[in-house]
């Protein structure tokens, strides 16, 4: 039976060969719930269980509001900490859940449940990492299992050499423009083609992360030598079997993108598919109040390297707030060791502790009425980062960095050396 990569991973976790449409109860390799979603999992968990199925396979990071900005949040975190202590699970304070899981925990071929909508991120390592709510997380923590309808796969093939100034963020914004905010609802997006094969894992994680914004249940890139290199760089060389969709596997849809003529892209508020070339917005001279470089989408060391090249020896545009939030402790240390943090501080930026930062409007850079933010994150909804009248434009780290130099939304191509 010809299978997609996703069908193969589901098959390996339920003991029989399955195809799209089948209903299965699958064994999970890992369950994640963070400082917001875990709080809501506690009550349902204790209604059906006393102990988690395996404390080694439950991951509890504090990232959405850490360090805690309020008494209310501290209360939730204290409840979660008590649960984690009782269950023998360490609480991890090392950055955004998806980034830390990618660095330390996700292996090719895994089936992972995360109580967070951006869980598809981990598919950049060739795993199926699926977002759910707190009740599903509670059941999974109790049983190690979850039910699924095996999804159809949409294959997105990307070819062509990316022009200078364009990155995987620009590619995925172009895909989102085509797919729309629910174009992949209930589906897996499989990214393939020569451009994706050329991307390293950090660049792939940006593709899979943004797939959540198109409704995807999961997103995946077939694991290969890039995956092997990433695992080695993160000090955990893993042997994995080749895993890819069969040549005659059945895809619900196939989309092709030639990115050789791509321009830097930006998503206008408040929709993810409202994407236009940055040069078009630049001509409107949109004044920027805040630039946020961070989140599970785009704040890995490769992103900070781009920003550093553009900011080195320069000053932030007067009056503009620039916030850099490394995605993880590891990224933060890398940025310190390479001298980026000192350069960013000299530039006039605020470098905050690893975590979700202001992406979800809870702390560390909450926007006021009508303010404009250029953000490297993934969601430009009304009210997402603060006031419902604030405007969030989503773009690559290069576009965000260029906009911090000029104070208006700026095409990065002439600033990228």
């Amino acid at each position: 039976m010809a299978q997609t990569l996703a069908e193969k991973i589901f098959s390996n976790h339920c003991g029989r060969a399955v195809r799209a449409g089948d209903f299965i109860l699958a064994d999970l390799d890992l369950v994640m719930a963070h400082d917001t979603t875990c709080a809501w999992a506690l009550e349902p968990f204790y209604q059906i269980a006393e102990r988690v199925f395996d404390p080694q396979k439950v991951f509890i990071p504090f990232d959405h509001a850490f360090p805690s900005p309020s008494v209310a949040m501290s209360k939730l975190q204290s409840q979660i900490r008590k649960f984690a202590d009782e269950q023998g699970i360490p609480v991890v304070y090392d950055g955004v859940c998806h980034q830390v899981m990618s660095e330390r925990l996700i292996n090719p071929g895994n089936l992972i449940l995360g109580a967070d909508s951006h869980s598809p991120t981990g598919g950049g390592l060739g795993a199926l990492t699926i977002g759910v709510g707190s009740t599903d997380a509670a059941i999974a923590m109790a049983t190690g299992k979850s039910w699924f309808r095996v999804p159809q796969t949409i294959r997105v093939t990307v070819s062509g050499d990316l022009p200078s100034g364009c990155y995987s963020k620009d590619v995925v914004l172009a895909v989102a423009k085509e797919m729309g905010p629910d174009g992949a609802n209930y589906r897996v997006i499989e990214y393939a083609g020569p451009t994706v094969e050329g991307f390293n894992v950090p660049a792939r994680l940006t593709l899979t992360n943004m797939s959540a914004e198109m409704g995807a249940k999961a997103a995946v890139v077939a694991p290969d030598d890039q995956t092997r290199a990433y695992l080695e760089e993160n000090d955990r060389p893993v042997d994995f079997e080749p895993l890819r969709s069969d040549a005659d596997a059945s895809f619900e849809r196939e989309l092709h993108f030639d990115v050789s003529e791509l321009k830097p892209m930006i998503a206008r508020p408040p929709d993810i598919d409202n994407d236009v070339p940055v040069e078009q917005v630049e001509s409107e001279r949109v004044a920027v109040d805040q630039v946020f470089i961070g989140s599970c989408t785009n704040c890995r060391i490769e992103d900070l390297e781009v920003v550093h090249r553009m900011w080195k020896g320069k000053r932030v545009k007067e009056g503009l707030r620039a916030i850099v939030t490394p995605a993880s402790r590891r990224v933060y240390l890398q940025a310190l060791q390479r001298g980026y943090v000192e350069e960013f501080v000299n530039f006039g930026a605020v470098v905050s502790s690893p975590g979700c930062g202001p992406c979800l409007g809870r702390s560390g850079g909450v926007l006021y009425d009508n303010e404009v933010c250029v953000s490297t994150s993934n969601r430009n909804f009304e009210g997402r980062m603060g006031s419902p009248t604030a405007k969030i434009f989503l773009a690559s780290p290069a576009t965000a960095a260029a906009s911090a130099l000029t104070g208006i939304i700026t095409d990065p191509r002439r600033y990228v050396a």
Binding site: F23, L25, T36, T37, A39, W40, L42, E43, P44, Q47, I48, A49, A65, S70, A72, M73, L76, Q79, A115, D116, S117, S119, G131, V132, G133, S134, T135, D136, A138, I139, A142, T143, K145, W147, P181, D182, N185, Y186, G215, K217, D271, L360, G361, R362, V366, R379, F381, E382, G383, R384, G386, P388
Partner: protein, 164 residues
């Protein structure tokens, strides 16, 4: 009444991140649509419907959105389509979500939903609207949510969900 909304009503509009720092469902219900439709939380009545377009509940996985709607004591949420995680949360909580073409429904229309016969009637316009309620949604709504179902039947009953 029917609280009518458009397409892509995301979980940040239902329970904005800044208001959902609580595990008290009543507190969350007080924050439901707090900025997007501020009169909702004061004026919503038991038995009201939320009626929306495509992709209702997109965005964050926060179950608070489904909890807030459930504790607003709606009869059901009716939408052309639902985002995956929201729909899953609603199934788990027993919040009834109904898939239907909502274009013809106005806020003042009197809707009659009969889940036994799976029929939705717009009494004001004397019109029947075809609906879809997946078996698992219907059964877990009747069970009072998946946690009540598992408490009554044991964790091994997870394997029975397929039969719904």
């Amino acid at each position: 009444m029917n609280w009518k909304f458009g397409d892509n009503i995301n979980t940040d509009l239902i329970t904005p991140g800044r208001y959902n720092i609580t595990t008290d469902p009543r507190e969350l219900a007080k924050a439901c649509f707090i900025e997007y439709r501020p009169e909702f939380r004061q004026q919503v009545q038991p038995g009201d419907f939320v009626v929306a377009g495509h992709n209702f509940g997109c965005g964050s996985s926060r179950e608070t959105a489904a909890v807030a709607l459930k504790h607003s004591h709606l009869r059901a949420v009716i939408a052309k389509s639902f985002a995956r995680i929201f729909f899953r949360n609603a199934i788990n909580l027993g919040l009834l979500c109904v898939i239907a073409d909502t274009d013809s429904i106005e806020e003042s229309d009197r809707l009659e939903l009969d889940i036994r016969t799976q029929a939705l009637r717009n009494a004001t316009r004397d019109r029947t609207i075809p609906i879809e309620i997946p078996g698992m949604m219907l059964r877990l709504h009747q069970e009072g949510g998946i946690i009540n179902f598992l408490k009554r039947n044991g964790l091994s009953a997870l394997a029975d969900l397929e039969k719904f």
